[in-house]
Symmetry: D3
Subunit: 233 residues, 6 copies
């Protein structure tokens, strides 16, 4: 199976579905991580260019841990909009990954880049299959199934299905720690230690299903339904 | 795996998850159909006693088709209430079936007996495991996972997961046809031919996932989450 | 057409659909007002028996203004429960009124008697047509269409359809003023003048559709759909 | 009365409200069908220009069947965005049609072009009446009432009102069959026969109200409420 | 201020609002904890009578820690129903506590006793003020404000307001540890260590507002609105 | 405390939170009113330039009544879109005001400019704190808390918290009357007298909490929760 996780910023995918991706990878599925923005405002000290370069490098290290491909779209952090240019870039990138299932941010998540990247990615699930929409990569054969990832802070998200990530939790932590530039930044911005933050949320979702750590998902409830929760690892 | 489907009236389970039950049965799972009421008002001509007897016999024939056990609670049709007596009867019956997964009516379905039987059954998922609640059958070892069945008329129900029942649709029709007393009754009450009615709904849900016939379900979104959509056949 | 409005207490129907009932009556439709409880706690000075008698008399005067029939079920105020006895009483009363359309309280209204009377009445829409459920009055020929009335305070209710009651607003006020025992009571309980209270809500709903006064409704969203907003006057 | 149906692509309006439009037309109302995009990607074999030309011609034939006017906005299929240019084009087109009621796609429909065209059209209902927004056609006198059409696949849509289209169903089929280029395309894309697909959905909605075929609608729940379900045919 | 927390079982109030109650108590407010059921099934080894006695004693110790009064209604665990007897018992108990604010379980919490006790308590907020409903304690002067507590597992609950309980978290742990009989029971039933379970949930809610531990609440959204979130400590 | 109210058009803030702003001002808080569009279509007689100038002058008079600062963004009325230019302008303006709490329009309000200005303002609450997003004014130290204002017509809005504005209602009326150009315009467009319109809505919300006039609000339910209803005056 081919799996694509679409994050707004470097580190989002790690926080919200890193354990699930590690499970897919561990069983031999092909995983791609796509990052919509370049994270170029996420630093209390660096310039935009510096921090963007640092974050790309961090994202590559993180992806490498599970042998995932990385697609870096490079849009400006905090300024993702749903327009023709971003739609085309997403269509092309999704075709490059050619996924059976796709993980995206949900419509009630906390950050506009999250919501908008999730909306663009979901809205591309049909166009990626259309021959007359021409991009660098060829059109796909079928509509990928879309899973919506949990919200940051676990607020306003009602899970449909859970993945027990107890066995890949350590890998998830390793992936997240690759984003070391964000440790001081998130301390600065929200006063939180980011691995601990992630661990709390994974732990709470685990509690719901009686395991140590879990991640929670919903399916996009729209026609045509091209898959379902059985596609989770 | 052990599977229990809880219907308010004889024929409800056939309409809403008959194809899924047939799939479970076909792969060797143990299936029980539990009917909360005796259907004793469902006739334009018979007495209550006559129609109740007829319907029990019809339910037995239907269950036999897939080798399912039948539990007949026998409460008065149209007068199911959520009270100690019904709660205890459900606890006992669920323990008798001892299911891993349980199918129940949802809270927005059209008929009070549906909504109330679904509420009672869901509310029993924890008590069935409690030693000090004593009934004829012994307490269960674990909380069964609860799937909520589609609404009659497919109104106000947002599916989370679908089961392709194309291969068991004919069996589902056979099961439903066992309830032949209802054919004239539903013609009388709603002006509908009941197999055709069921086929339309199954066909619409099938359309959503690109198959000929399907059934649609949700999981009960409550702690503790004791299973998930991977338990569907 | 035959119209039935089911209120929890004497004066509820006047507040929430009095103007609409007056319009039905004015065009010649047969209107029945059914009151579930006897209002026997609604007084700061009287005994239960006294205030119940007073309120019945007030309800009769109010109904008489539009030539409506009054069905007085007489259950204890504040103690309406959904059980066999109340279900049977509602079935019989609805059959007595034999309505094409029925107005009931909604599930998010402020008072338990409101929510429960609305639930019982809605749940009776099918049983009233069933021959084998025997009551004093004969079973009905068809399922009445159910409209849900606005919530008290207009909180948590999203209207689907509005009725312009500007021309019957004065009649509505007259009907409400018949319940004069409640004037001091509601002053006592909530610190409000009850005609002014009603006028504010009617005025707000009127504002939405650009008229002086209106009332707002929803249809019960359940199978079988036996009518629709075209049945409003 | 003047009626405008706004579809994202050629054939959407036929599928979701064709029977209702045929009823309006049959009783003498003036009907306009507006198509936002040119459908220029909807073909497995043609070029964009070819298929756009074919689809316009098909849309014209379909509209002609009920004597409806056709407004062809010609935006690129799959690339409709909510921006000044599209807003202005919609304002002008709505003014051209000058409708009393307007049918639009809903916010939970499956396709981004559907959702976005519905959002733009709804958002124009006030601006069309504003003198200082100048377009080719003059500003309208009043805010049209907005009906939201069913979702494709009938998923996630709770109907408020139904229109019995049994008597115009054959006309609806004829209209849809005009879009013959889509027959092979939808077979290719979704594996469905498009008239059968539509018939299933119409049949399910019909089942809800006890007729052979129906279409389902909601009203836009926003101030100012400029009409209501009584405006349905 | 006078504060009443209504729990379904001994320990519920501690888990869901123990830190908030401790804050009220610390600033001098009068706190009452009311427990609807006697917890008489919550043991893998004791008899019903033994465990009920143990749990009452545990609840008394827990309440004593913050100087709260304890009202013990003693209904059978797992068999709370909304009927006249329970309604009257709740009215009397609420009058005994005579609260300005009341904390209750919500309608989507996981356990029927939770949902039902919350429904009964909410439904009593008006009757407690009614003179003609006579109970042992006199009727109250005003409708208490109702806060809805978080759901167990933090599933399906959208917080409106948070209380930072970092400074009373240790007290909350002490209160919960008084319920030592439940430690082995919950290990047995759900495989969880109950203080750790509570700590995870408090920690997640704290994370949302940037503190170590918090509890989350909503107000009952119904007329008459007799208070608001400013009544939280 | 520093307070910012973001309205789509001149007069929106006055209608939806004028009384609350007056209370903040009266107790010494610093209040800023920001107006997204220039109101340049709101006249039946003037040119765009004339009416824009008139409305700015009216907005200044209104703000002066409570000593509030006015930030005038000047985007075209009816043509506000969520794009980089508007996002940057909002970020800069919010930084200029540097608020602790921010009032914005909600996602279900009636007018696209309302919904879009509310979305932009909410989406800026994090970017305003980010150093590398450079605007004229310096980045803020912390994320402001966001309150969502009531909907026009009080349709589709469920209040979480109310502010009693009885004592500042006269000031609110004075502020609104400054927008005298809108009196004839709204009469023209909606047939309503705008102070009376506002008074009805304030009166209805007041009724809910038992006072003469009130305004209703919700908090943005998203991580990080940077405040709460205790920040209301």
């Amino acid at each position: 199976m081919r799996v694509l996780a679409v994050g707004a910023h470097p580190d989002d995918v790690e926080i919200l579905c890193g354990g699930t991706l590690a499970k897919y990878a561990a069983r031999g599925d092909q995983v791609t991580i796509m990052v919509a923005t370049n994270g170029n405002v996420g630093s209390p000290t660096h310039t935009k260019e510096e921090i963007a370069a640092i974050r790309r490098s961090e994202a590559e290290k993180s992806a490498a841990i599970i042998g995932a491909d990385l697609i870096w779209l490079g849009f400006d952090d905090e300024f993702l909009f749903h327009e023709r240019e971003t739609r085309m870039a997403f269509i092309n990138a999704i075709r490059q990954a050619n996924p059976d299932v796709m993980f995206v941010h949900g419509a009630s998540d906390y950050h506009p880049d999250h919501r908008i990247s999730g909306e663009i990615a979901s809205d591309c699930r049909i166009p990626v299959t259309v021959r007359l929409i021409e991009t660098e990569y060829p059109h796909m054969d079928k509509v990928p199934h879309v899973f919506i990832m949990d919200n940051i802070g676990s607020i306003g998200f009602e899970p449909e299905a859970y993945v027990d990530i107890t066995d890949t939790f350590e890998t998830k932590c390793q992936m997240l720690r690759c984003h070391e530039s964000q440790d001081t930044w998130l301390q600065h911005l929200y006063g939180m230690e980011y691995v601990e933050f992630m661990a709390k949320a994974s732990s709470l979702r685990g509690m719901a299903i009686g395991v140590k750590y879990a991640e929670a998902f919903r399916s996009l409830p729209m026609y045509p339904v091209s898959g379902g929760p059985h596609l989770l690892p």
